[in-house]
């Protein structure tokens, strides 16, 4: 897979993160993912995807303030970077190209 294209879970997480201009932390993303995909994501699945995206330079993260509700732990706020936006666009273009070609059909020999 090319470096600037995204896998399914990466596309979902990055696309949902891009909808939030100020970025988002894990709990907010879990709610969004459940709403869009119709299934409950595990925190582990989300964070391994986010870590991969951060490694590719598509997202950046910063620590927020600790809250009592979180057992005094800080939030980690993730935000989409310019490279991430480009990767999203590239993936959308690829998907549109597939749709434009008549969708997924069995190729006749």
């Amino acid at each position: 897979m090319a470096k600037d294209t995204l896998g399914q879970s990466e596309y979902l997480v990055l696309g949902l993160l891009a909808r939030r201009a100020r970025g988002a932390h894990g709990t907010a993303l879990l709610d969004d993912l459940e709403e869009v995909s119709g299934r409950q994501w595990s925190v582990g699945a989300l964070y391994t995807t986010l870590e991969r995206l951060e490694g590719k330079g598509f997202v950046a993260s910063a620590w927020g303030e600790p809250t009592q509700q979180r057992g005094g732990r800080r939030k980690r706020i993730f935000q989409v970077q310019a490279a991430g936006q480009r990767a999203l666009e590239r993936t959308r273009e690829m998907m549109a190209a597939v749709d434009g070609a008549g969708g997924v059909r069995p190729v006749e020999a």
């Binding site: 894990g26 925190v43 582990g44 979180r70 057992g71 732990r73 800080r74 939030k75 980690r76």
Partner: protein
């Protein structure tokens, strides 16, 4: 006029019902009312309602006024009866006891996630789990929140463990290449 109706502060005349205007007396009577008063009123309402089509305009107006008031009284009696049977709600503060502490996420579940999760990720992951647990415990109760936490802990630990295993394999390959 039955004794029960008198007790409820309701008086009747030949033309139709005249209800007491002494509301304090009526409220006191309703408060002290027993189920038979309640049932008697319902029976009388049914009888009056059956008569309505045969009444003249003036009589009908009076009968309908009675029925409206009686229906409200009936509702009030039902409510009073329900309130009397409901146990009083006494808060912990009224009893002089300290308020119950909010439910805490399962410690063993936290340990399981913490064991496989990378150190730099641990604070954010456990914080997110705590936040969602608190929200669920408030909305759907501590039992459902605990079940949710365990399902998350088991699935997340598996994800982290697989990733950890892959890293070990990568490290092994790298070491083989170097050494």
């Amino acid at each position: 006029v039955s004794d029960e109706e008198k007790k409820a502060g309701i008086a009747w005349t030949v033309e139709g019902p005249i209800l007491t205007t002494d509301y304090d007396q009526l409220i006191a009577a309703i408060s002290a009312a027993d189920p038979p008063v309640h049932d008697g009123l319902a029976r009388r309402m049914k009888e009056e309602w059956a008569k309505v089509p045969t009444l003249s305009d003036g009589e009908r107006r009076q009968a309908l006024m009675f029925l409206e008031f009686a229906a409200r009284t009936h509702e009030a009696l039902q409510l009073m009866a329900e309130l009397r049977t409901r146990p009083p709600e006494i808060t912990a503060a009224e009893l002089g006891e300290p308020a119950a502490a909010p439910p805490a996420p399962p410690t063993a579940g936290e340990a399981l996630v913490g064991l496989f999760c990378k150190r730099e990720m641990r604070e954010a992951v456990l914080g997110d789990l705590d936040e969602k647990f608190a929200e669920l415990a408030e909305r759907r109760g501590p039992r459902i929140a605990t079940a949710w936490y365990w399902s998350q802990a088991a699935r997340s630990a598996l994800f982290f463990a697989v990733r950890w295993g892959r890293r070990l394999l990568e490290l092994e390959t790298l070491l083989k290449r170097i050494l």
